[in-house]
């Protein structure tokens, strides 16, 4: 059997016989998957918002001649929040205790202002303090926006009825008074029955132009309401929060933590056990020893990374989130896990060689994980030097690889670029670890 494989087999055996370490290794991905699942369920959940009606809204309201069913309208516009009708006191109490994350109040006089169409009626919003508040505020703004759009549509429809009346004539009402309108078409017919004098012809010309112009009023009025309209394409796949970023970072963080700790600790343990001298006297070269640790980190990265990916996929399936093709991309993810685990393992081996003994190596690896991860989280546009430093470490490349492998429609360019980065970083750190491992022989 290959000597690297012999050492790798020994390390796996040692790992299996370290119950605490094995427990952490098993619990860590499960904890990450559960946390990711919680984030996922949070992302798709509807915050509970209290709805306080101090204006005694009637079942139906007529605005601009359009009849609104209040409950149905609220249901239609509140798709992203769960509105709960509460008394003012109950709403305040639940806001304090966290039962609701916000209170939307319809103040007295709201309907009167709405019907008067002189000044904009106001809804009052009270938010809880916490991380959800900005998200709820956005959703309530979206709710008001949806409500405004419905009202706007009603106003436009009402105005267009007047335009139709002017065009075709007929009975209608204005400011509550019945009216009988001749209409442009009938007026043209009346003028056609008259002697065609220049004045009559001029009037008929005007009516012709007016009819053409008013015929286009419908679209013009609607486009005035929406100078730019955003049409959202139907999409397949998971929401952004559920998908690339969360899963890629969950994988990246787990692999970084485990690969660094394992490689650093297991290399330094060879010295703690006083075995490295025995190995180095011709049984196995220091380079091969580093390779064995890199292989150990890569192997554990694949097993645990896949466990997280499968757990994550299962949570998504159970959660009923449709779309996305995570299962089909798993083979590509395995490639990323091998490369990321290997590169991080090489960095871990370097830390192990520098630290010299297993406890220090594990502590150093633990302390190094967070800065590496945080460097990878800082956007390049914000602090360019942080991004440069992060480029010289495997974490950010691993995250980009995982994200592309799982979710990009055409992942090959990103996967190839990040894969080459990981190979280059792995080779560089592995070479440095090989040099540093000589310190372990002292």
């Amino acid at each position: 059997m290959n000597r690297i494989a012999l050492l790798l087999r020994k390390d796996v055996l040692v790992l299996r016989r370290s119950p605490l370490l094995l427990g952490i290794l098993l619990a860590y991905p499960i904890a990450i998957a559960v946390l990711v699942g919680l984030v996922a369920s949070y992302a798709s959940s509807k915050p509970r918002v209290a709805f306080v009606d101090e204006d005694n809204l009637p079942p139906t309201v007529i605005v601009g001649g359009e009849r609104f069913h209040v409950d149905r309208t609220i249901r239609e516009v509140s798709q992203n929040v769960k509105l709960v009708r509460l008394s003012p006191e109950a709403a305040r109490r639940q806001l304090r205790t966290g039962g609701v994350v916000a209170v939307v109040t319809v103040p007295p006089g709201f309907i009167a202002s709405l019907k008067g169409m002189v000044k904009s009626p106001q809804l009052e919003l009270e938010l809880s303090k916490g991380t959800l508040s900005s998200r709820v505020e956005q959703q309530v703004q979206a709710l008001v926006y949806s409500l405004n759009r419905q009202l706007q549509r009603a106003y436009i429809e009402n105005n267009l009825r007047y335009v139709t009346l002017i065009l075709h004539g007929g009975d209608g009402s204005f400011l509550g008074q019945p009216i009988d309108v001749l209409g442009i078409e009938k007026a043209d017919k009346v003028l056609a029955g008259m002697p065609q004098t220049p004045k009559v012809e001029r009037l008929r010309g005007f009516l012709h132009d007016a009819r053409l112009a008013l015929a286009n009023t419908d679209d013009a009025l609607r486009s005035t309401a929406h100078p730019i309209e955003l049409v959202r394409s139907p999409t397949r796949g998971r929401t952004w929060v559920l998908s690339a970023e969360v899963q890629a970072y969950a994988l990246g963080l787990t692999i970084t933590f485990l690969a660094l700790m394992l490689a650093a600790g297991s290399l330094a343990a060879e010295r703690d056990e006083n075995v490295i001298g025995r190995l180095a006297r011709g049984l196995i070269g220091l380079g091969h020893l580093i390779w064995a640790k890199v292989a150990l980190a890569a192997g554990v990265a694949v097993v645990l990374g896949l466990a997280i990916a499968v757990a994550f996929g299962a949570i998504i399936e159970v959660g009923g989130v449709t779309g996305g093709e995570p299962w089909r991309r798993l083979p590509l993810l395995v490639v990323g896990l091998v490369l990321a685990g290997g590169a991080l393992g090489a960095l871990g081996a370097l830390l192990g060689a520098l630290a010299g003994e297993a406890r220090s190596a594990s502590l150093v690896a633990l302390l190094v994980v967070m800065p590496i991860v945080f460097l990878g989280l800082i956007p390049a546009e914000v602090v360019p030097p942080a991004a440069w430093a992060s480029d010289a470490l495997p974490f950010a490349h691993s995250v980009r690889f995982f994200s592309a492998a799982l979710y990009d429609l055409s992942p090959w360019g990103s996967v190839l670029r990040e894969g080459l980065w990981l190979v280059a970083l792995g080779a560089a750190f592995g070479g440095l670890a090989r040099v540093g491992a000589r310190r372990l022989l002292v």
């Binding site: 059997m1 000597r3 012999l6 020994k10 055996l13 040692v14 016989r17 370290s18 056990e273 006083n274 075995v275 001298g277 025995r278 190995l279 180095a280 006297r281 011709g282 049984l283 196995i284 000589r438 022989l441 002292v442």
Partner: protein
């Protein structure tokens, strides 16, 4: 002593750890049939010299010569084995690394020879004496022609000491050699045919055991 080149030789071998010189230009040869005792107080450089001769440590200066294809077994003073593996697993692993043709058989043979427990208990649970026996057993893997033993009998009972020196004698008769570091001067007189005394990393005496003056060496310890 045979004619030709020695099995193993230190040629002006030095070793420093930082600014501390642990070994200073040591000249030493190991020949077929030798039982060479390394003596000297703690910190004299005995373990460093054995590690360098074994190839586990690189010299800072000078060189180490080995006869072509020479197989060397090394038992460091502190046992070098994996604590989470059993004695059998340790022996099988190192047998494979040493290129033993039948690792399982070699491990079984040494377990019997050294009276080591064959069950799956991790070797870190073994007694100090048993760990030292396992350490010596690992050194014997790979059909070694020269054994480098660092205070090999310190934790052994009398019966195990007798077996070890019998084994060493058999190796010498077969044309091999044994180099051992020890603090036990009685053992030097009983087993060694040559003595090398070290002090502060330097060789202060090297010659036949018959020429070795015990009282002179005892003064080194003082």
């Amino acid at each position: 002593m045979s004619s030709g080149s020695p099995l193993l030789a230190a040629r002006g071998t030095s070793r420093s750890f930082g600014k501390t010189a642990a070994l200073d230009a040591v000249e030493l040869e190991v020949w077929e049939g030798d039982a060479l005792a390394l003596v000297g107080p703690n910190g004299a450089g005995k373990s460093t010299l054995l590690s360098i001769l074994a190839g586990a440590l690189e010299p800072s200066g000078g060189d180490v010569e080995r006869r072509n294809g020479l197989r060397v077994g090394w038992a460091p003073q502190r046992p070098a084995q994996y604590g989470r593996l059993s004695a059998r697993e340790n022996l099988e692993l190192f047998a494979r690394l040493e290129g033993e043709p039948d690792p399982k058989a070699a491990a079984g043979r040494l377990l019997d020879e050294f009276d080591l427990p064959g069950e799956a208990a991790p070797s870190s649970n073994l007694s100090v004496g048993n760990r030292q026996r396992l350490n010596l057993a690992i050194a014997l893997l790979g059909d070694a022609e020269v054994l480098l033993l660092d205070e090999p009998t310190a934790a052994l009972d009398p019966e195990q000491r007798r077996r070890l020196w019998e084994r060493a004698a058999a190796l010498r008769e077969a044309g091999g050699a044994v180099v051992f570091a020890t603090q036990n001067l009685d053992e030097v007189e009983r087993v060694a045919d040559r003595v090398a005394a070290l002090r502060d990393g330097g060789l202060v005496f090297a010659g036949p055991a018959g020429e070795y003056d015990r009282s002179q060496t005892e003064s080194l310890f003082a």
